[in-house]
């Protein structure tokens, strides 16, 4: 079971819009951290994903385990939030 979802995004990132659109279509709420507005949180995104890219979606489960999905990757995102 999903406890919460956090997405790291930027203003110009189309793939970020797709992640938000997908979660929105599933009726799922999420916290968005826009790295253009909060550049000081870039390091957090890099540490979580090991990459310098967005979107980074962090799905936290009820048992506090985390799944980190890099990019707009439906084959990983869909089961992670199911």
């Amino acid at each position: 079971m999903v406890k919460n979802i956090t997405i790291f995004t930027t203003n110009t990132c189309a793939y970020c819009q797709m992640v938000k659109k997908y979660l929105g279509a599933k009726g799922m709420s999420y916290e968005e951290i826009n790295l253009d507005e909060f550049p000081q949180r870039q390091a957090e995104a890099i540490e979580l994903s090991g990459t310098m890219t967005v979107p980074v979606t962090v799905v936290t489960k009820q048992d506090e385990s985390k799944e980190v999905i890099i990019g707009y990757n439906l084959s990983r995102l869909a089961p992670a939030v199911a």
């Binding site: 930027t10 110009t12 870039q42 890099i46 890219t53 979107p55």
Partner: protein, 317 residues
């Protein structure tokens, strides 16, 4: 074989929601032709990940790619287009209906438009895959923000490379533009680029081929190259690659649909493939001009051909 009760049936299935696919859906749905769309990536395709589009008609001041894509989607949905975020993995011809294997299960379609577009090519050098998304990038609008006050290299010399170099100047301290031969971008873009060259933000290196992307401690730190056949190195924090396009036709490799030698779909003058009822439009089509306006135009043409086909009026070429 007739479709089973369990398989949803549609008059038109459009594979790909870029400008060609969305335009075709605007036309078909506006004529009340039942249309289902599939998109495995970004609605809007490569147009959506382009910072600014200056040559799409009707926008005197240019338009952000993301905005154009979103407006095309809204327009198609206004007339009833249904967009499924999922992937089509195979097509088979079963007579009146084609069967599409999708991430949502099999569906049946009387006609299909393949508008899957293209993706950016890889350079194919050591280090490129290893540092993917950790210093090597293919989407400036996604990843440019990670290079604020850093030095980067852009590989390529076409419209995309120059457009994205200009976009990246808002973040990077300095950009080395590495061009295999000469710059082939439009004069307008070259003129704009020259402003950044004059300011010292961009340095252009012509006749430069890439040998390797190197890094240390998991971070890219240099590009090994040759300029005019002389070995050279560029100290950079990241690399953005825009060296051309490859068609998204992997999913039809095992079908009878004919492709050209580069993998683009061959069509006749009606945009019809050699599989009856299956059409192609936009960047995925052999002979496409790789322009957003052309893709939209082909989408409109394809919609009219789909209608003619569904009504049994499409001549054979």
């Amino acid at each position: 074989m007739e479709p089973t009760e369990d398989n949803p049936k549609h008059d038109v299935v459009v594979i790909g929601c870029g400008p060609a696919g969305l335009t075709s859906a605007i036309y078909t749905t506006r004529e009340d032709i039942d249309t289902m769309m599939f998109e495995r990536g970004v609605v809007g395709g490569l147009a959506a990940v382009t910072d600014k589009i200056d040559n799409y008609p009707g926008f005197p001041d240019g338009v952000e790619g993301l905005k154009l894509a979103d407006d095309l989607r809204k327009q198609a949905e206004r007339f009833g287009a249904k967009i499924e975020l999922g992937e089509v993995s195979a097509i088979s011809d079963e007579g009146e209906y084609k069967r599409l294997s999708t991430t949502s299960g099999d569906i049946m379609a009387k006609s299909i438009l393949i508008a899957t577009g293209s993706d950016y090519k890889k350079v194919g050098v050591p280090g490129e895959a290893e540092y993917y998304a950790r210093g090597v990038h293919y989407c400036a609008t996604c990843d440019g923000a990670f290079y604020r006050d850093k030095n980067i290299a852009v590989i390529g010399g076409g419209n995309s490379a120059v457009q994205e170099t200009i976009f990246l100047t808002r973040f990077a301290t300095h950009i080395d533009l590495l061009v295999r031969s000469t710059i082939k971008a439009s004069d307008v873009l070259q003129k704009e680029l020259d402003e950044y060259v004059q300011k010292g933000k961009v340095t252009i290196h012509l006749n430069t081929t890439i040998d390797e992307i190197k890094g240390e401690n998991n971070v890219v730190n240099k590009v090994i190259a040759k300029t005019n056949n002389e070995p050279t190195e560029f100290s950079v924090d990241g690399v953005f690659v825009f060296i051309g396009l490859i068609p998204n036709t992997q999913f039809i490799k095992n079908t009878p649909i004919k492709l050209d030698e580069l993998g683009f779909i061959l069509t006749d003058k009606y945009l019809s493939t050699n599989m009856k009822g299956v059409f192609a439009a936009g960047d995925v089509r052999s002979g496409a001009t790789m322009q957003i306006a052309s893709a939209a135009g082909e989408g409109a043409t394809a919609a009219l051909m789909l209608r003619e086909f569904l009504e049994g009026r499409l001549p054979t070429s």
